[in-house]
């Protein structure tokens, strides 16, 4: 159930930001600090309501959001950094609408000692379950919370929530965050994805992509014993190279492809996919990503600083038959984010006029 819109309040550097009418492929552009990564993180945290643990990053999602930019902090030690200006008197809220018109507004609650994402319980459901004193539910750990009494219990409301939001729960559950941390950790990606990939021989598709742009003589991807361990390796015509030892572009491409091939009907958050990629490599990776997205119903959200990526996506989205939208974010000093929406044709028009879409804040 793809996401239709999101409104973020008091989260990290964002006082308020609303984005809507999302497409199949959504690209966020804007200056540093405009809120692009924060938007991706808010979608990621919505998925923590369904499953608080991220197998790919091997961390609780809340802790990962706090620590991922610098490697420091956790909910226990540093939760206040998630509040805009660390003003914990204002609620952090992330309101999502989905393409079936369902609306869910997630909240972070500071006194929650574990760092869960909470959903206010719909009124009807409270009276139905005779749990009137509780007002928030966390699906991941199946817990109820009362803001007023600061109490928390475990109670099986899951079945009822599945009845109400089955499609959304399934969609949120699968969300993955592909950032530079995970693309620098081949072992983690191997551990989580490769049994699934080999079981269905999806590795052939990855080899095809590698052959297209990165290693023309790539024959296969295999497991190779090295140092008492077995590691993923690329078989070339005259040698075999650990994925770890490939160039950054080829390694990132293989890992990103591996993650995508294990997903279905969910959202994929990709931070700066252009990192380490030559434009030819970027085209090959995006071609792969978009085809998989189309086939597996993946809604894509990417942040970027690359105008080459925008041009490549324009062409490929048209070829593959996916709708592309580009969102230019500009955050003012009060933390309000102005969002300007660009359709595919707009980018060409701006470039023809001599206006770089990454600098839209000048007009």
């Amino acid at each position: 159930m793809p996401i239709e819109s999101v409104t973020i309040r008091n989260f990290r550097g964002i006082r308020e930001c609303s984005m809507g009418d999302f497409a199949d492929v959504n690209v966020l552009i804007g200056r540093n600090g405009s809120g692009k990564s924060t938007v991706l993180e808010s979608i990621y945290l919505a998925s923590a309501w369904v499953d608080s643990y991220d197998k790919l990053h091997n961390a609780r999602k809340m802790d990962y959001v706090i620590s991922r930019r610098t490697g420091r902090g956790s909910w226990i030690s540093s939760r206040d950094v998630l509040w805009f200006l660390m003003d914990v008197t204002r609620d952090v809220k992330m309101k999502f609408t989905f393409t079936n018109n369902d609306k869910l507004e997630f909240k972070l609650i500071r006194f929650d000692g574990e760092g869960n994402v909470w959903l206010p319980i719909p009124g009807g459901l409270l009276s139905e379950t005779a749990l009137i004193e509780y007002d928030h539910y966390n699906y991941s750990d199946n817990k109820l919370l009362s803001i007023a009494s600061r109490s928390l219990i475990g109670k099986n409301l899951r079945a009822r929530f599945i009845e109400l939001y089955a499609d959304i729960i399934g969609f949120l559950e699968g969300i993955v965050f592909i950032d530079s941390n995970i693309l620098a950790d081949p072992k983690r990606v191997e551990d989580v994805t490769w049994s699934k990939i080999l079981a269905k021989r999806l590795d052939k598709f990855i080899t095809g992509m590698v052959r297209e742009e990165f290693e023309a003589d790539a024959e296969d991807i295999t497991y190779m014993p090295i140092g008492g361990d077995k590691v993923l390796a690329l078989k070339l015509s005259k040698t075999t190279v650990r994925v770890d030892d490939l160039g950054d572009g080829a390694r990132s491409a293989i890992l990103m492809a591996s993650i995508l091939l294990t997903l279905d009907n969910t959202a994929v958050l990709i931070e700066e996919p252009e990192s380490h990629q030559h434009p030819g490599g970027l085209k090959a990776v995006m071609n792969f990503v978009l085809k998989v997205a189309k086939e597996r119903k993946l809604q894509l959200f990417m942040s970027t600083h690359s105008v080459e990526l925008l041009k490549i996506l324009q062409k490929l989205c048209k070829d593959v038959g996916l709708r592309l939208k580009i969102f230019f974010l500009e955050r003012n000093v009060e933390g309000f984010v102005d969002v300007r929406v660009l359709e595919r044709i707009d980018i060409n028009t701006l470039l023809k006029l001599g206006l770089d879409p990454r600098f839209l804040d000048v007009v």
Partner: protein, 224 residues
């Protein structure tokens, strides 16, 4: 006036990266490169001074109204800081007001709210209107090139160059009457030299519509 030529985009990119300017107050959309060069030559020649940052660009010779209005609509929709949008187009085979109305109609067909165009008192080639997008109102000023006293089949910026040549005694009426288009009389790359060599008062009178367009900015002087 701080004049920023937006094309080629690579140069604008470096100006932006190195903070040569942080915002554009007004964009002047010209039909083609010739008009851009003429506008720059007039600003130089006449010493027009405004406290605004003017971005100058062209639509690559687009004379198809839907494409031109696509550009106007896009800038109206995505801009936040622009104080006005100026447009310089050729009349081609149309009357001035009809040329502007065709732009207005096309903008309306793109579901933009657009006022009726009003000619500026000082020049019947220049029309002022407003484009409304959401809660924002963007002034749009359209100047139309062409001199109807010439019997040319199409009217364009070169008409004005021919008129200037007549005033400067570089050509006579009889010679002009031999041609069906001004472009046959004067080559694109000669216009700038003609402006450069001509008397200031003649330039001001012949290119009055562009002078009015630029004076619109002078009058607003940073407060459109």
């Amino acid at each position: 006036m701080m004049l920023i030529q937006l094309k080629p985009g690579e140069e604008t990119f470096y100006k932006l990266v190195f903070n040569k300017f942080k915002k554009l107050d007004v964009i002047l959309l010209c039909e083609g490169e010739t008009e851009v060069r003429v506008v720059k030559a007039l600003i130089r020649k006449l010493g027009i001074e405004v406290r605004l940052v003017l971005g100058l660009t062209d639509c690559e010779g687009i004379n198809l109204v839907p494409q031109l209005t696509g550009v106007i609509a896009l800038l109206a929709r995505i801009s936040r800081k622009l104080k006005a949008l100026l447009v310089l187009v050729n009349a081609e085979t149309m009357d001035f007001i009809d040329r502007v109305r065709s732009i207005v109609n096309s903008l309306r067909s793109k579901e933009l709210q657009v006022d009726e165009p009003q000619p500026l008192a000082e020049c019947d080639h220049v029309f002022q209107l407003c484009v409304k997008v959401d809660s924002r109102v963007l002034p749009l000023v359209v100047a139309v090139n062409g001199i109807k006293e010439f019997n040319f089949t199409k009217h364009c910026i070169e008409d004005h160059a021919v008129k200037l040549m007549l005033l400067e005694g570089k050509i006579d009426d009889q010679e002009v009457s031999k041609y069906s288009e001004a472009k046959q009389v004067v080559a694109e790359d000669e216009i700038i030299d003609i402006i450069g060599e001509a008397a200031e008062e003649n330039v001001r009178s012949v290119f009055n519509h562009i002078v009015c367009l630029l004076n619109y900015l002078v009058r607003k002087n940073g407060d459109c």
